[in-house]
Symmetry: C2
Subunit: 279 residues, 2 copies
């Protein structure tokens, strides 16, 4: 019997955690920004970690990527120009490009190595990277948004790591103000907003900061995400000049592309907040 | 620095798992049916395991107990008589007794020791055990339902362990037939139905068996449950002579008792099935 290898991520400063049995270490490198590792797990397929934290697994990334992209896109009346900040594994980009109306996507990822490694080990997530509508920029997303022309995007997606280190600025009021400025008269901003169970206070503060930044409407959607802390995750949307409850429900029902988690009824359902997060 | 103690539950035959840091082992016993253990964890409060598997923690049991009880009760037009099979920690019973219209609850738990231990270590979950409407029977639930008078219950809840060993019969067509017979002309059966991520085939077969047993409608609701395998859980409801989408939404909105997860919008939302579970 050979030795068992386990990947273990400790949650909440090491008070709980998840473990995945590892068959092989496929890749390890130190990029200018972080340690990127790829593991072959026994039950979740390929796993990418950044600085030791789960970013994506083959098995469950579909929920996160679909919920980061389709609710925001169906909340906008006619999204043509999209900005993705982060999202280096390209799973969100792939979902965005499923919308035939989208004409231009700027993918602004700080660490080019994340995308290069994903292209090798998560080729399915990167299958749309050659789409002529996709434009890659390996640079700082906070600065990108600060420099963006007013009204230049319909939808902005913040597919970031946790709000510590370089990603902390992606959860600040000033960043949200710049995003809202970079959106057109009707626009949608969405950001991943951590775990409702572990980070309820953070979710409340993200919502407050988005309103403070001038959002006309704010909505948090929640969904299961097995390999993220607590197994329960959220994204928070900010509307500029539109109501997020009035999403294009019929278009979502009639969508011509396949999904595995998202559908129109689930979008409507995900908008319902648990009692403890209300108010 | 003292030695760290960790509780680890391995999922899917040991291919992944969750771990909780343990401060103290509070109780351990071998009942006639299983090993009952109580741990004090650092971040999830008190934890009860049966044969080494998580049954309940202080921190996240509210989601499970509320979703096992309120959707079924608000799906029935006027529930007065309720049967709970399993549910020895009494958390489901407590939620059921929040409904003022409920007049009689039979709690049928195989292992009296689970309830006795819960009364000591989960006193909040057991705070309604002395309610005169609650009637405890420490016996086999499968036999109880087989012997039940036809039409004697409005709602039956199967708050069971996994479908192996003594609980396997609680997922069988014959058991569902007996439940539907024991329900009145309009009645609701609900059973915990495992993880959508890990057990999609089981969920499909539970739904098929409930229909085979004569249910007029079947609905699966899903919800986060951090400490259960995959962090994502489900309950499947069967209606007898009623449609589960037509639940008492206004009554749920106007409910006079507190909840932490459940509300009317969330109930409606939880009925939306992920795309991969449809069809």
């Amino acid at each position: 019997m050979s030795t068992e290898l386990w990947y273990s991520e400790r949650w909440e400063e090491g008070r709980s955690g998840i473990s995945l049995k590892v068959l092989n270490v496929l890749h390890r490198e130190q990029s200018p920004y972080q340690t990127i590792e790829i593991f072959e797990t026994e039950s979740f397929g390929t796993l990418m970690t950044l600085d030791g934290l789960v970013m994506v697994t083959d098995r469950d990334n579909f929920v996160y990527h679909e919920m980061m992209s389709h609710p925001a896109l169906f909340s906008h009346p006619d999204p043509k120009r999209v900005l993705i900040i982060g999202g280096g594994d390209c799973g969100t980009l792939r979902e965005v490009l499923k919308h035939p109306g989208v004409e231009h996507v700027d993918m602004v990822e700080l660490d080019e190595r994340v995308t290069r490694v994903a292209e090798i080990y998560f080729s399915q997530l990167c299958e749309s990277n050659q789409d002529p509508r996709a434009h890659f920029h390996f640079t700082d997303g906070i600065q990108w948004v600060a420099d963006a022309r007013a009204g230049s995007y319909d939808v902005i997606m913040v597919d970031s790591t946790d709000p510590v280190g370089p990603a902390a600025g992606l959860f600040a009021t000033e960043f949200y103000q710049n995003c809202l400025r970079a959106l057109g008269n009707r626009g949608v901003l969405v950001g991943q907003s951590e775990s409702p169970l572990f980070n309820a206070d953070l979710i409340r503060s993200i919502r407050a900061r988005m309103r403070e930044a001038g959002a006309s409407d704010v909505a948090t959607i929640h969904f299961p995400q097995c390999t993220y802390p607590s197994g329960w995750w959220s994204a928070t949307l900010a509307g500029k000049g539109l109501n997020l409850a009035d999403f294009r429900e019929q278009a979502a029902q009639a969508k011509a592309f396949p999904t595995r988690y998202y559908n129109a009824a689930l979008h409507r359902g995900a908008l319902a907040m648990p009692e403890f997060l209300l108010g």
